[in-house]
């Protein structure tokens, strides 16, 4: 039945506007019938009347590397370019078809503040394709994708490339404000006397540099510290956290060995060897992990280097299209992008609980329940953060007292949860993780045969995101 429907749908897509309008009515009618007749057999689809279906044709990423390794001499736009060329190569999309390019990034290289444009120009996209860069901490590329969804749904674009990039091997370290002020004053000074008077104000402490903040601006607390407190608030032990991290690394290793991480494209780094796979996957033993000292709350905290995600370099990109456009171009899309949700909460005590807040909301919006989801892809910032979110989602008390809900949404079953590894093991280039999550969900659904995937992530600023990914019928 489903295949019949999509067939009808496909055939009707290329007809005139008139016919389209007719078909929508028709489709809606059919849809209703299907829904009523086959409720028990297969789940409904999340297509909405009067809204275009939006699909991910495919997505790629560079291998994610520990920062300071093979990518260390690159600039962010180099990495982003690698992801874009990889996508071009993988999808063979004609460059002039792309209407728009959006990239997410967090720590900006000041020379390429619109990194999307710089990367696109170098990657061989048409210089007639506009590009912009978005930032929303760890959900920046999620924002890039949902911006693309918005552009397509509103009929402004048909084909958008969304992606993300982060290069933690190099970060913009600035002169101090005082030094900058002096240098700017010096620029304005016209006479020698004026210049000397500016220079005479120089003090040695002007030279102390200013690093990009590792801590939350509003609370001055580093994220690791907050994660440790979060784990303590939910009474999550060091052992549980280490076990979860080990699980992530083991699953990632298996996925890598079995060649499941098909979104990875090799990258020939200029002046170095070709990088073909992620290098942060290192399954260790619980004994080894237990030896590590706490990284943030010393000496008794529970968050360590082994149960946190590491600083990562990497880029990712996905090709998003209106379904009818993709079909017209002869593509076989991987997945639909369905309902999504952004949430935000207290950046101090609930900094990393975004998934807990976003999950029930997005499910409600889509009319699904936890049981309908076949593949969960949650961003793993810290083991403690993941386990805290699982506990929070499983707590009626938390739902009632902090989320204003009648009951808990329930905790996702682990056998469906991040089964190909996660940010703890694969790595977490802040701006690029969102696309990886979506592609992991899409690829898992294809491989394992489920219909719905749920992607969720937390982000600095106490924000969060969740999105439903629906497998494209084979």
């Amino acid at each position: 039945m489903t295949s019949l429907l999509t067939y009808t749908f496909k055939n009707l897509r290329n007809t005139s506007k008139w016919a389209l309008r007719f078909c929508k009515f028709h489709l809606f009618f059919l849809f209703k019938i299907r829904f009523e007749s086959s409720q028990t057999k297969s789940k409904k689809t999340l297509a909405k009347p009067n809204i275009r279906n939006i699909v991910v044709v495919d997505g790629v990423r560079t291998p994610f590397l520990l920062s300071g390794t093979s990518y260390k001499d690159l600039m962010p736009h180099d990495l982003a370019r690698a992801a874009l060329s990889g996508l071009l190569h993988r999808t063979s999309v004609p460059k002039d078809v792309v209407d728009y390019i959006i990239f997410g990034t967090v720590i900006q290289e000041v020379k390429t503040s619109n990194v999307a444009r710089e990367a696109a120009l170098g990657a061989g996209f048409s210089d007639k394709t506009p590009a912009h860069t978005v930032t929303m901490a760890c959900i920046s590329s999620n924002q890039a994708m949902t911006t693309a969804v918005g552009l397509i749904a509103s009929g402004q674009c048909d084909v958008v490339v969304a992606g993300g990039v982060e290069l933690m091997s190099d970060i913009p370290i600035r002169h101090s404000r005082k030094m900058r002020k002096m240098m700017l004053d010096l620029n304005k000074a016209k006479t020698l006397a004026q210049r000397l008077s500016v220079i005479s104000k120089f003090r040695l402490n002007f030279l102390s540099p200013e690093l990009p903040a590792v801590s939350e601006f509003s609370t001055s607390e580093t994220m690791g510290h907050s994660a440790d407190r979060l784990a303590a608030a939910f009474a999550i032990s060091r052992e549980e956290q280490d076990e979860y991290a080990l699980r992530s690394h083991s699953l990632a290793k298996r996925a890598q060995d079995e060649g499941l991480l098909s979104d990875v494209v090799p990258f020939k780094v200029p002046g170095r060897d070709t990088v073909t796979q992620d290098n942060g996957i290192r399954p260790s033993s619980l004994d080894q992990m237990a030896k590590l000292k706490p990284a943030f709350i010393k000496p008794y905290g529970t968050v360590t280097a082994a149960n946190s995600s590491f600083l990562t370099d990497g880029a990712s990109a996905v090709l998003i299209m209106a379904e009818e456009k993709a079909l017209a171009m002869g593509y076989k899309p991987k997945a639909y992008l369905r309902d999504f949700m952004y949430v935000s909460q207290d950046p101090k005590d609930q900094l990393l609980l975004g998934p807990t807040y976003a999950t029930p909301k997005v499910l409600e919006k889509a009319g699904l329940t936890m049981n309908d989801i076949d593949a969960f892809e949650f961003h793993e910032a810290f083991s403690g953060q993941i386990l805290a979110n699982l506990k929070a989602m499983d707590s009626d008390w938390f739902a009632q007292n902090y989320m204003g809900r009648k009951a808990k949404v329930g905790s996702p079953p682990l056998e469906k949860f991040n089964t190909w590894g996660g940010s703890l093991s694969l790595g977490h280039p802040f701006g690029a993780t969102g696309c990886r999550l979506v592609m992991a969900a899409a690829n898992r659904l294809r491989k394992e045969g489920g219909q719905y995937g749920l992607v969720a992530a937390c982000a600095a600023g106490g924000q969060g995101h969740a999105m439903i990914v629906e497998a494209y019928p084979k």
Binding site: F217, S218, T219, S220, H225, R229, L230, A232, A233, F234, A235, I297, Y300, D346, K348, D349, Q350, A388, K391, A392, S395, W397, F398, N401, Y402
Partner: protein
């Protein structure tokens, strides 16, 4: 029916059973303990109280528990924790001290505590104090006797030795242990200022060994889980200490090592004692005995060994507890606690939107103490420059806290966003309370009241911030006088603790409850008085000010007068006070009240103030008054142009009432007499409010405890005698009031029983 009966029966027997079982287990009411592995977790929670205090019962229960811990072979270490949110132990039980009638009794209490804490200090099984909330006085002394201290890094967690503020000293070993723990200079600072130290600072000083961050929500309320977490962390440290994996010794920094080396040289120590003593003498002017005794006790302990130190500590403790100063200060402490409660109950509608009219010094100050407590506040003025000045004052006030690191810049921004500055009445329709702080002019206040009433909702309270204009007169133009009340703030609003609330006969009880509620949220100590000219505070101050002018006219210079008043215990000299208040304001008030009260407010000639005003000597705000004020100049100089004014109004002095002491008592007795008259006339409801108002609003010497404590402690008869003597010399302004005479005639009559 039978089923019902039987179920009740079962229920009843269940209660009985659980009751007997409980009574067998819970013989202790303040402390219980459980054993986790080989760690005893001792939990303190005094019943029926918001705080834990070191009372006799708690003391003996703690001893019992510790003896069990020491004798149990199963237990190897212990954790001491309070399960009361926001309080470890807030100090010793003051009632226990007040019940003592001799210094020997107090000394004995001290010695018992010393013994217990010494035993605790020498415990072979390590004891970890897990501190969440206030850890003050006796609580700190208990904590520093333990082998290890872990504190939550919460704003509520503060450590300190505030005994000096009550005129006593830490009597359970702190004078001996603190110098060893944090060094002599820091120990002196803590014990002599009584300041509260936040947990992070305490960690740096070495007062606590570890910090625990407060937690956010999990599957339990944050406060509950934080205490649980603190306990878990403390248990791991207790185990570590018992297993000798952790040593309680702290790594000292280079500066610290050098300091402690320097302090091992006797000569250096002598210099420090000398310096500290000099400073204390200068600041207290010899009016407060406790700080000097603290220095003495610390010195004894260091120079002559701890046995001598402990003995000296307990004896001086006993002596100090019997001093008048201590009784006065403790009285003030109790009064302050009482004036932090709303005896009018909760208002029907909590004020959520406040509006302040007038962005001057007072208006902006009121706005500042409101927005920083999260109250949405509209600040309205009539011109943009005036409004901007007010907004800048609020910002500066908040930003100064950022500089002192008590606020983060983000918290400042969030607080500042509670303030809306505007020139019109937009949004007043949603205001729950309007506080006007416009210029002190009755017709202006009338106009503002009418304008405001046209736009505010029915439930909105209209409060007037005035120091002397009767609220009843302001309310005459009101359509709803039951909603009109006076809220008299003191300048600078963010520093002065007092708020004087003035009710007219028509003010409703709910309006009063609302005003008190807002004041408490603004962090104020509140007295509620009846309407009348000058209310309570201004009315007490005015006769004293009149006497100030008289004394100046009699040829006592402003500097001399200042030193006489400060040496009596006033924080600000009398002449300086006139400059600070503003000469024009002083004259305005003196004239108004003079009309009302006639000869009782006589004394000095208002001509002096008039002449000063005509020459532009308005006090600090104009740069000149009795003194000259210059930006950046610390030592202020006398204004020599005042000489001619003073000379022209000179009056002969009467030698028999013009000794230094007489001058002091002429000022103070007029103040005290007027305060008691206020109680007699019902302007004041209680002597407590009179004392709190005088000390916190007007700077009446705290060592005297306020006018009513002063009369109680020094004897009404002596004061009446003084007044009679001055009355004979000057006239009716010194006539003692009836209530004071009654007290003099009956020595058993006291304001505080």
């Amino acid at each position: 029916r039978r089923w019902l009966a039987s179920s009740i029966l079962i229920y009843f027997s269940y209660i009985c059973r659980s009751f007997t079982r409980a009574s067998a287990l819970l013989t202790r009411t303040h402390i219980n303990y459980g054993v986790k592995g080989d760690v005893a977790v001792i939990r303190i929670n005094s019943p029926n109280s918001k705080v834990n205090t070191l009372s006799q019962e708690l003391h003996s229960e703690f001893m019992e528990v510790m003896n069990e811990v020491w004798s149990s072979s199963q237990i190897r270490s212990a954790v001491l924790i309070s399960t009361k949110p926001g309080c470890f132990i807030a100090g010793a039980d003051l009632n226990m001290l007040n019940a003592c009638t001799t210094s020997q009794e107090v000394t004995q209490i001290s010695q018992e505590a010393q013994k217990m804490f010494e035993k605790l200090e020498k415990s072979t099984k390590p004891v970890v104090a897990a501190i969440n909330g206030s850890c003050l006085g006796g609580g700190l002394e208990l904590a520093i006797s333990c082998q290890y201290r872990i504190a939550t890094k919460d704003k509520k967690t503060v450590l300190g030795s505030p005994e000096v503020l009550l005129g006593i000293l830490p009597g359970a070993g702190a004078t001996q242990r603190l110098p060893k723990m944090v060094g002599i200079p820091a120990a002196f600072d803590m014990m002599l200022t009584g300041r509260s130290i936040r947990a992070d600072r305490a960690k740096k000083m070495g007062l606590v060994d570890q910090l625990v961050e407060p937690l956010g929500p999990g599957v339990k309320p944050p406060e509950e889980r934080t205490i649980e977490y603190l306990e878990e962390v403390a248990i791991t440290f207790a185990k570590g200490l018992a297993d000798k994996k952790i040593t309680p010794k702290r790594d000292k920094g280079l500066v610290e090592k050098m300091t402690s080396y320097a302090l091992s040289i006797p000569f250096v120590r002598q210099q420090i004692y000398k310096k500290v003593e000099e400073k204390v003498r200068k600041q207290t002017k010899g009016l407060y005995p406790a700080p000097l005794k603290i220095i003495d006790v610390v010195k004894t302990g260091i120079e002559q060994g701890s046995n001598a130190g402990y003995l000296s500590e307990s004896q001086r403790f006993g002596e100090l507890a019997m001093t008048k100063e201590s009784k006065a200060l403790m009285g003030l402490y109790r009064g302050q606690t009482q004036c932090k409660k709303n005896k009018f109950g909760a208002p029907q509608k909590e004020v959520k939107q406040l509006a302040v009219l007038g962005a001057g010094l007072m208006g902006a100050g009121i706005a500042q103490v409101s927005v920083d407590k999260g109250l949405q506040t509209i600040l309205k003025d009539t011109t943009l420059p005036a409004l901007g000045r007010g907004q800048q004052q609020v910002f500066k006030g908040l930003n100064d806290k950022v500089k002192k690191k008590t606020l983060t810049s983000f918290e400042r921004d969030a607080m500042f966003s509670n303030l809306i500055g505007q020139l019109d009445y937009r949004g007043f329709e949603k205001a729950d309370m309007v506080i006007e702080a416009v210029f002190e002019d009755l017709s202006l206040k009338h106009r503002v009241l009418k304008e405001t009433e046209a736009v505010i909702p029915d439930h909105c309270v209209f409060a007037s911030n005035t120091s002397a204009l009767p609220i009843g007169e302001i309310a005459t133009v009101s359509k709803r006088p039951e909603k009109v009340i006076g809220m008299h703030y003191f300048s600078p609003v963010d520093k002065m603790q007092l708020l004087e609330i003035i009710t007219t006969e028509k003010t409703s009880k709910d309006t009063t409850a609302s005003a008190v509620d807002v004041g408490l949220r603004q962090g104020k100590v509140i007295i509620v008085v009846k309407d009348g000219p000058g209310f309570y505070t201004t009315r007490c101050l005015t006769p004293m000010m009149s006497e100030v002018i008289r004394i100046l006219q009699e040829g006592v210079g402003p500097k001399k007068l200042d030193s006489l008043t400060t040496s009596f215990g006033f924080p600000v000299g009398a002449a300086t006070l006139v400059d600070e208040v503003g000469v024009d304001v002083a004259k305005h008030v003196a004239e108004n009240l003079g009309k009302e009260f006639g000869e009782r407010f006589a004394g000095g000639s208002l001509e002096m103030l008039q002449q000063m005003i005509s020459k532009g000597f308005l006090g600090r705000k104009s740069g000149k008054g009795f003194y000259i004020y210059q930006e950046g100049v610390k030592n202020k100089n006398l204004n020599s142009d005042m000489d001619s004014i003073l000379a022209s109004l000179k009056m002969p002095s009467q030698p028999d009432v013009s000794s230094d002491e007489d001058i002091q008592y002429r000022l103070v007795t007029r103040f005290v007499n007027e305060a008691i008259l206020c109680l007699q006339e019902g302007v004041l409801a209680t002597p407590t409010e009179g004392d709190i108002g005088a000390v916190f609003g007007l700077g009446f010497p705290p060592c005297l405890g306020g006018p009513f404590h002063f009369v109680d402690l020094y004897g009404a008869q002596k004061i009446v005698d003084r007044l009679r003597k001055y009355e004979a010399a000057y006239g009716k302004q010194f006539t003692p009031c009836q209530l004071l005479v009654d007290h003099a005639n009956n020595p058993n009559k006291k304001f505080y029983q």
